[in-house]
């Protein structure tokens, strides 16, 4: 999305809050890595001494001792290697877990509008792939980046001390290396970012193809879907290969520059030897040091690449985390009126979708009295669902206000508000969990009796009891498939479940009867009548049968409430209402046919 502006270091610093609590272990692991490296360097030196000493001088006594020394170094090295990995195993998986939990928490509190805008694949790839990248960076590459840089710096320092002239050569080599690495890192990071975004898009396509499989199958679109998926996958491949090429070029430089420096050192060393300003031992020492620096230097290439990947992942992660929750708890929540009566009042409510040019709702005024059932009727696309979503603050009004018992919904704590207001949606979302869990969605402490009570009100107890494991049966995508009518009745049960908090005072029902056949409709209708008793309700309705349940009806047209009254009043007085809700025309045809 945005080209990287901050340096990788600045981006990676945002991992600090997660890394800080385990910094002891991270440091320990770094120390172990350093120690293992030193032990690894130590043993060849010791071996050298064995060959030059005891073996050459036929000294049996010190042979065993020095050999044991080699063995000891080897054991220490192995132990440190173990420590380096084992120390960070738990802390880094914990970091990944906490970062995921925090992201998940944040996403759950971002408004629906955010989720409509963000493709789920982009969110998923952040929660899974990016966090994996970050964990590996913290556990491994980040550590070695620091350790290896330190090693290189120390090596250079030693070189400068024992042979200043030769050391200067190394410093001169280091300058282009640092400059090139810096430039490359920037380019690489933007490629890494692009690749990660493409991975997210790919995940989105995968998700859509999996969820929309019925449509794709019905239209025989499998091959086309595969083609467009492949096109995206090829894009990703291209980006990944760009990354590989960048890394390959950098790596060539990182290998070649020290080698050329070594050659130059030999030349300069030879010259200085000839002039007598350096000893042979010093030249050999300098060359040996540079050889030892080979691995730390070479590894910087892919360590930097990994840092670039991690920086891209981190910035993608914080992009979402930095999005402020537009619908948030008020700083000082007000207590709702006690007892809650459930009067619902909309005053001059305007709503505009983010980025849209015009308002969907243009000054809605509506008063639903406590205990009253108000049907909301309007043409397809008139904003009924939008209006319904404003009450539990799934979105906030653009202007105007919504009051419950005289308190602005924005002044109530969200948990409080959504306890008072229960909602059932036209498309009843079921999660892959037990029936009990699905019904007690917001009230996990609800008892089986509470759940059964709600099921009974929603006319759902009978079919639930007939399921293979009753309340424990897993439903939803990963479980048993339910019919549309069954799903809608569960959604109703969900809306009316009591639990400790007591039954909700305000119900918002978005077309709760849409997916039902005539038989089931009658059953759910009966259920609804019971549900609606004693609560304030706003019911979005498409059908005269649903409207029948209401005490009064409000007609939404042109973004305003055009008329409020009983069904028969509006039918008689408002032509628009007749047009939308009356089936007279069809019924007339039918009866004509029937006769």
């Amino acid at each position: 999305m945005n080209p990287p502006q901050q340096s990788s270091l600045a981006v990676l610093r945002r991992l600090a809050p997660y890394a800080r609590p385990v910094r002891g272990r991270l440091l320990g692991s770094g120390a172990a890595a350093l120690g293992a490296m030193l032990a690894g360097l130590g043993s060849p030196l010791l071996i050298q001494r064995i060959v030059d000493g005891p073996v050459a001088h036929r000294d049996r006594s010190s042979l065993l001792l020095l050999s044991l020394g080699v063995l000891a170094l080897g054991v220490v090295e192995a132990g440190l290697i173990y420590l380096r990995r084992a120390l960070v195993a738990r802390p880094t998986t914990d970091i990944e877990k906490r970062m995921r939990a925090d992201l998940y928490h944040h996403l759950q509190h971002l408004p629906v509008a955010f989720h409509d805008r963000w493709q789920s694949g982009q969110l998923l790839s952040r929660a899974i792939g990016d966090l994996n990248t970050i964990r590996r960076f913290v556990a491994f590459s980040g550590l070695f980046l620091v350790v290896n840089m330190l090693t290189v710096l120390v090596g250079m320092g030693v070189l400068l001390t024992i042979a200043p002239a030769l050391g200067m050569l190394a410093v001169i080599m280091a300058i282009p290396l640092v400059v090139l690495c810096g430039r490359y890192e920037r380019h690489y990071r933007s490629a890494a970012r692009r690749a990660k975004d493409q991975v997210g898009d790919l995940a989105t396509t995968v998700g859509e193809a999996a969820l929309g499989i019925r449509v794709l199958k019905s239209f025989g679109q499998g091959p086309q879907a595969t083609q467009s998926f492949l096109a995206q996958a090829r894009e990703l491949r291209r980006t990944e290969l760009t990354k590989v090429r960048m890394l390959a070029t950098l790596w060539a430089l990182i290998i070649a520059l020290p080698e050329l420096t070594l050659a130059a050192m030999l030349a300069l060393g030879g010259y200085e030897l000839a002039t007598g300003s350096l000893s042979l031992g010093t030249v050999i020492g300098a060359v040996t040091i540079l050889t030892y620096l080979r691995w730390p230097l070479e590894s910087l290439g892919w360590l930097l690449a990994d840092a670039g990947n991690a920086a891209a992942a981190t910035s993608r992660y914080w992009e979402v985390r930095d999005t402020a929750a537009a619908v948030a708890d008020p700083p000082q929540p007000r207590a709702p009126a006690q007892p809650i009566r459930g009067g619902l009042r909309l005053e001059a409510v305007h709503f505009r979708f983010p980025g849209a040019a015009t308002d969907v709702l243009r000054g809605v005024d509506l008063d639903v009295r406590p205990g009253e059932t108000m049907a909301l009727v309007g043409a397809t696309g008139s904003g009924k669902t939008t209006l319904a979503a404003l009450v539990p603050r799934l979105a906030d009004v653009t202007s105007g206000r919504i009051l419950i018992d005289g308190v602005d919904v924005r002044d109530l704590a969200l948990v409080e508000l959504r306890t008072i207001v229960a909602t059932a949606f036209e498309d009843p979302v079921l999660f892959s969990a037990s029936v009990r869990e699905n019904v007690a969605l917001g009230a996990p402490q609800a008892s089986d009796d509470d759940v059964r009570g709600a099921l009974r009100i929603a006319h759902a107890e009978k079919f639930v009891d007939a399921l293979p494991w009753g309340l424990d049966t897993r439903i939803g995508e990963q479980g048993l498939t339910l019919s549309g009518g069954q799903r809608q009745r569960l959604a109703l049960a969900r809306a009316v479940i009591g639990g400790d908090a007591g039954r909700p005072a305000v119900l918002v029902l978005d077309d709760p009867l849409s997916a039902l056949d005539v038989h089931t409709e009658a059953e759910v209708e009966a259920a609804l009548r019971r549900v609606l008793r004693g609560v304030t309700a706003l019911v979005v309705a498409h059908r005269p049968s649903t409207v029948q349940l209401a005490d009064r009806v409000a007609l939404l047209a042109g973004g305003r409430i055009e008329a409020v009254g009983t069904h028969s009043e509006l039918l008689a007085e408002v032509p628009e209402y007749r047009r939308i809700l009356s089936a007279v025309e069809v019924a007339g045809d039918l009866s004509a046919v029937a006769r």
Binding site: P44, P223, A233, L266, A433, V593
Partner: protein, 604 residues
């Protein structure tokens, strides 16, 4: 694992017995082999580059040794020639080394990316081919985790593992040969170190298989939880599910973190033990070698060379251990992926396809069709003839089998016995492409894909469908008006799953989609449930013209839609209990007439 909230379902099995484990391992190895085989040339080229690199690497120290031993003394004697040659030679080997490594990286990068692309294509295309019955069992969450996180872990192996594998194998073989050439007994002792290493590798493979399998299963669960939450976010928020979800995610994330930690600790134990074995070998070798030098059965020079090489013999073992690790992690992923690829579509393309007549007339015959979804029989035996061009409405209570009939006609499922024929051709003998051209089904769930309104309408007709056709289809169902009112008209992005549109508008779009596909047989499964009455009337008016000349099977809860049919079938428990033109059935006192009365009562 206490996960009561998930509830009970028929199939939950994570534990795998040994025989199955072996079968899984062979299956995933076969898959990996089939992925790598087309890359053989490139792999050989890559190995060639590595060989060149190794030669350059070996030559470098040699040149330095010569420079120090001969060049510098000669230079001190005033003959700078040998030193200059050595230095030039060293610079050249350095450059060659750099070039070879760089070329190798490009090559192995291409190999890895091509393997991934190949696998992505295979899995995605295969998933699209698999039948609906499979998808309903396997679920979208698992498909998503196969194609995302499982593939990622394979990419990790290809990115980091392959060069490590090549380099280490090359140097182990090379140096092993060198050791044997230098001194046979010592060489054999050095090779003996591979016995404990082999045992160690076996132990690790066994343990890590299990652990990594667990990580794959946990991450798949995390993905499912994540995806379901994000897809149902409005329900989550409206019902204050956030806290409960957070604790569920905590459990799942914790399970994943535990499995992952276990895997990392295993790696720690494995790599450090490998290093330990290497170090002990070196020490033993050292003692043995030195003792033999003292005995006079070995020269000092051979001993020195031996020790130097030995160190480099065990170094690549680290790389090998790392490869073993990334292989183990991707093996678990490969197991799952190969399992998915192993599924064969139960509703598959015919071996010997039969062409439909051109043009398709649209005569549909259900010939002794039995059907069940792995449970009680849904359709005991259905015999039905729908003449070409007839509009048939299916009516009946929930569970009567209406949708099943529709799905059989759209061949989302195949009958257990009997056949469904279109123009006399068994649907199982028709290629998918032909069938989808002839039969289109619109369901109640109007799934919209990311993209513009026009893209969504043109789904069935292909992106090349002219805009005028798209508009005409939208007009026909009465969707044109609201579409043009959108900010960018037909080019408006519908956002995730069509969030920008209302449920009714989404249904109109998917209706237009079906019209534009212009099939000979149209199947409508409650395609108008979310429409308000004016929209439904517009659709009905459109249907009257659209359906003329087409065969149509309509499932509708609204009797008004049923009335436009030529013929009504009342279904109960999978059997047709009433059959006739709607007007005639209304006049009778059968189930349809009763239904009609119920509908009228609902209206009153």
């Amino acid at each position: 694992m206490t996960q009561q909230w998930r509830g009970v379902a028929a199939e939950d099995h994570d534990e795998i017995d040994i025989a199955t484990g072996l079968r899984l391992a062979t299956r995933s190895r076969r898959l990996l082999g089939s992925l790598l085989r087309p890359q053989l040339r490139r792999i050989i080229a890559a190995v060639g580059l590595l060989l060149a690199d190794q030669v350059a690497l070996l030559a470098g120290p040699l040149l330095i040794a010569v420079a120090i031993d001969r060049g510098i003394p000669a230079a001190l004697d005033g003959r700078p020639g040998p030193l200059i040659w050595c230095i030039a030679g060293y610079a050249v080997t350095g450059l060659l080394d750099a070039l070879a490594v760089s070329a190798f990286m490009r090559q192995s990068g291409r190999i890895g990316q091509d393997v991934l692309l190949d696998l992505r294509e295979r899995v995605f295309a295969h998933v699209q081919r698999l039948s609906l019955a499979f998808h309903e069992r396997y679920t979208s969450g698992r498909v998503i985790s196969r194609l995302t996180s499982d593939l990622d872990s394979l990419q990790e192996m290809l990115d980091t593992g392959l060069d490590g594998l090549f380099i280490s194998l090359l140097s182990i073989v090379g140096i092993g040969a060198m050791l044997l050439v230098l001194d046979v007994p010592l060489g054999l002792v050095a090779l003996a170190g591979f016995v404990p290493l082999g045992l160690l590798a076996r132990w690790y493979r066994r343990r890590s298989r299990h652990t990594y399998r667990a990580t794959r299963s946990w991450i798949a669960r995390v993905i499912v939880q994540f995806v379901e939450t994000m897809n149902g976010i409005h329900a989550v928020q409206a019902f204050r599910r956030e806290r409960r979800n957070a604790s569920i995610m905590d459990g799942l994330g914790g399970g994943f973190a535990d499995a992952e930690t276990e895997a990392l600790r295993l790696v720690a134990r494995f790599t450090s033990t490998v290093r330990l074995v290497g170090s002990v070998s070196v020490a033993v070798m050292l003692l043995l070698g030195a003792w033999r030098v003292l005995q006079g059965t070995l020269t000092l020079g051979v001993m020195a060379a031996f020790v130097l090489y030995l160190r480099r013999f065990y170094d690549p073992l680290d790389e090998l251990a790392m490869f073993a690790n990334s292989y183990a992690s991707s093996a678990a992923a490969l197991e799952k992926i190969s399992g998915l690829l192993d599924e064969s579509p139960t509703v598959g393309d015919p071996v010997a396809p039969v062409a439909l007549p051109v043009p398709v007339r649209g005569e549909v015959v259900f010939d002794g069709v039995h059907f069940s979804y792995s449970g009680p029989e849904i359709l005991p035996r259905l015999d039905l003839v729908i003449p070409a061009g007839q509009t048939v409405a299916l009516v009946g209570a929930t569970g009567a089998g209406k949708s099943t009939v529709a799905k059989l006609l759209a061949r989302l499922y195949d009958p257990v016995a009997g056949a469904v024929r279109l123009d006399g051709v068994d649907l199982r003998s028709v290629t998918d492409a032909d069938l989808r051209q002839a039969v289109v089904m619109v369901t109640q769930e109007s799934f919209l894909f990311a993209g513009s309104v026009a893209d969504n309408i043109a789904l069935g007709a292909g992106p090349s469908a002219p805009r005028s056709d798209v508009v005409a289809a939208a007009r026909a169902v009465g969707a044109h008006e609201f579409i043009t009112a959108l900010p960018e008209g037909y080019d408006t992005d519908v956002r995730k799953r069509g969030a920008r549109l209302s449920a009714g508008q989404r249904q109109l779009v998917s209706f237009a989609r079906a019209l534009l596909a212009d099939p000979a047989v149209l199947v409508l499964d409650e395609a108008t449930s979310s429409l308000d009455i004016p929209s439904e009337q517009a659709v009905q008016a459109a249907l009257a013209t659209v359906l003329s000349g087409r065969t149509a099977l309509i499932i509708a809860h609204r009797l008004s839609t049923v009335m436009i049919a030529d013929r009504v079938l009342v279904l109960a428990d999978g059997e047709v209990i009433e059959d006739g033109p709607p007007t005639q059935l209304l006049a009778d006192t059968g189930p349809f007439a009763t239904l009609h009365t119920a509908w009228h009562t609902a209206l009153a």
